[in-house]
Symmetry: C2
Subunit: 260 residues, 2 copies
């Protein structure tokens, strides 16, 4: 029978909250916090949780949670409330290890999403979810992107965090140079000086990287200039833009790697 943590000041609980709230702590410790049955079981298909916390009530409703690997502890309802990032906590919380990936994990012939300064965690999460669904092998997050391991992004990604390689770069140029080194074609999303999406090839035997930019400003001009090709999504008269997750996902759909 696992221990029960009753105190909101317990050191393990404070540690879990720190991982939930701080990108720096997540990075330094190589761990992240996840909440809820669907997300945690989805992540646990590829990653082994190191800590598993649940309420008595949660375990009664979902006895299968007892099968998760890692160190288990019960938490009181008051502690669950402290741990939760949502209004109505289900009562399951896990700490998972982050994989540490680098550009040497890129593969020839692979498909990659590359984000530059995508700042809304919900957009980062939704784009990772689309990339995983459309058969992409990994994602590179450049510059000031929201942390994909933050709770809001992790929830929106629906387990894609565990399914794909994730690589971080300070400058987009590092990512473009790495793609080129591996013979991967780099395609930038840009409203101007770009080809309409339907005119772009869909088969890239050497691999393809799709670059999407900041919600308000798009990609930096030097990023677009360094890409092999720029594409835009044609829009009806008077419409200036799409939701950022939608626009990026339509590009990922065009360059998808899934079969019927």
């Amino acid at each position: 029978m696992p221990d029960t943590i009753q105190s909101r000041e317990n050191e393990r609980i404070k540690h879990a909250c720190a991982l939930r709230d701080s990108a720096a702590r997540r990075r330094a410790e190589g761990l992240f916090f996840a909440e809820g049955l669907r997300l945690c079981t989805d992540l646990a298909q590829s990653l082994c949780p190191v800590e598993v916390y649940y309420t008595q009530r949660f375990l009664q409703a979902h006895p299968e949670a007892a099968q998760l690997p890692g160190r288990h502890a019960f938490v009181s309802e008051a502690v669950a409330e402290k741990l939760s990032d949502t209004r109505s906590p289900q009562g399951l919380f896990c700490i998972f290890p982050r994989r540490a990936q680098t550009f040497s994990d890129l593969g020839r012939g692979g498909r990659y999403l590359c984000m530059e300064h995508v700042q809304d965690p919900a957009n980062v999460g939704a784009l990772l979810r689309s990339a995983a669904a459309f058969g992409f092998d990994g994602a590179v997050l450049c510059g000031a992107c929201a942390d994909p391991f933050a709770p809001k992004a992790a929830r929106a990604s629906m387990g894609a965090l565990a399914r794909m390689a994730l690589i971080f770069a300070d400058e987009t140029k590092q990512a473009i140079d790495a793609f080129h080194l591996y013979g991967i074609t780099v395609i930038a999303a840009a409203l101007e000086h770009s080809a309409p999406l339907e005119a772009a090839d869909t088969a890239f035997p050497g691999g393809v990287a799709v670059l999407v930019g900041n919600e308000g400003n798009g990609l930096a001009p030097q990023t677009v200039a360094s890409a092999d090709m720029a594409v835009r999504i044609p829009m009806a008269n008077g419409v200036e833009s799409l939701n950022a997750a939608v626009a990026g996902s339509v590009l990922l759909w065009h360059f998808r790697g899934v079969q019927q």
Copy 2:
């Protein structure tokens, strides 16, 4: 020089807040509330505001707001705070008329988005934005959809509310019957017993209606059964679903009516 409203209890301000908060009031009065420069000026390209409220500070920063049609009034910062649905109000608020549209506004050869029980206002707004961008002529909202005129949906729609016909139906069957009456082909999104999206025609000279369902449950089985065709977005192994706004938008993109 317009009046200045200083009191948070002013009847016009209470009326604006009621339109902001109540779908029933919006429906009964045929009006809706919008906030912020980008959304209000975008809507004002097609709809004439009946009331325009701004702070002195806002008008100094954006003197062009004085050119908006409708009855103008200054509001104090305290009143702007009461009116605002956001954390940092810009200081511009308008009340617009809703167009009242019915199935008789459908056109042969048109393109329509049809939503069934799409409950998140951000999804409703993002789908309308995509539909407008991809050259759709209108949208039908069936059953328990979030109100597209609610502030969160209106913000996410980015002016699409004013660009497209919007029709409301209690039952999806009414919409499908109306589409068929006009010779419009009805296509349902469904994970099972459906063709992969890339196998679906893109040219429908008689018109096309794309049906998307609830975020968690999809379309009702009887809705799918009444459609002329069902399509699914093929996904990679292990991925069960996409963000609802993304999935619907990929379908809208496939059936788009925009030229390069």
